[in-house]
Symmetry: C2
Subunit: 217 residues, 2 copies
């Protein structure tokens, strides 16, 4: 996943293939750029606070704590996402997309695909997360609800909530600033049996970059 | 917490004091009745599947999985709540209240009260959960987002979500049927610094009962 030419942005972008995941360590102040290259791709995002010894600190980004703190179901530019100790973990500092993301839906897993009619194994974001952490010798305490970048599942006034194709466009990007030393896992959702990744259900590659810390925004 | 006279229902009701929690084991088919005695009290509810050896099976009621399965942000009568393995755990079989409950907000914790200005320790639902499980020699893998009975924090069309006083009335009750052998923890939320438990912020006692399994509903 080396730098690629012809892609926008100041930092070299690296490709994260459709259906796969990447673990990215960030130091406080660094920024993670996530580019929705095809425009229709949902990316599940988790963040775990690194303790000084390199393991888990028992603190992770939590959607249910974030909603309480923001009094919003989805963060907007300038909002932070909070941990299970109610401390800022990531801040959404830029978003070229219409800002439709989801904080409410579980990551896909083998059970989800079985219920959708898949036979045999199906790649899924939950296993992607566990494998990415295992590659660093880590095992989480449970699987937190992810921050689902570009997932379009609005809560309607009658309380219903259905997954629809993303409203983002090719090349839309978000920038997330680390508020502490983190391990971030991104899973390029392999969903192809629901319109999560577009009406055609075809997952695509995304691109990411890490930008160095800079002065106050 | 013995039976009390003068309370409605077929089974003896027992009191769960304001701010405290109770761990109730249920066998598949049994029903848990929860009475909102003051009408303004929120009750955080968790369920953990019992494995045949009596410990945790690694399976618990999950709000984020429930929302995916129901395609609704809040269950209605007849809906089941699902586990992190996408199996039904509890079914909401009756609800005399207007049906406003919450599945999206984290349980209160020491960090929440500190941010609300509390000094020193403040009773909270997260510690209540952990203490209730510890009394049975158990420790969960993380703290799942609770099913917040009667919590009134609707997601509005603009995505904002603020906690308002409950719309339930004194004596309103829900009935939850266990779909498998469970350990349910109920925490009578001690929140008194937000309108969670009414505009006055005064938590009150609730009452519960367990009804035996019966034929199909």
């Amino acid at each position: 996943m080396g730098p690629e030419a012809g892609t926008p942005g100041e930092e070299p972008l690296r490709r994260v293939p459709a259906g796969s995941a990447v673990l990215q360590e960030l130091a406080a102040g660094e920024r993670l750029v996530v580019v929705n290259t095809p425009g229709t791709q949902v990316v599940d995002c988790w963040a775990f606070v690194r303790d000084p010894e390199g393991g888990h600190a028992g603190e992770h980004m939590s959607m249910e704590h974030t909603r309480v703190e923001l009094e919003r179901v989805c963060p907007a530019v300038g909002d932070s996402l909070f941990s299970n100790r109610r401390r800022p973990v990531l801040t959404l500092v830029a978003d070229t997309s219409p800002g439709v993301h989801d904080t409410t839906l579980a990551a896909c897993d083998v059970h989800r695909y079985r219920r959708l009619g898949a036979r045999g194994h199906h790649a899924n974001c939950t296993d992607n997360l566990l494998a990415a952490l295992a590659s660093a010798g880590l095992r989480p305490d449970g699987v937190p609800c992810p921050f689902n970048l570009w997932e379009n599942a609005p809560v309607r006034p009658d309380g219903t909530q259905r997954i629809r194709p993303p409203v983002s466009r090719p090349g839309d990007r978000v920038v997330l600033r680390a508020e502490r030393d983190l391990r971030v896992v991104l899973s390029v959702c392999p969903q192809d049996l629901a319109p999560t990744n577009g009406a055609e259900g075809v997952p695509g590659d995304v691109h990411i970059a890490v930008e160095p810390a800079r002065g106050a925004d």
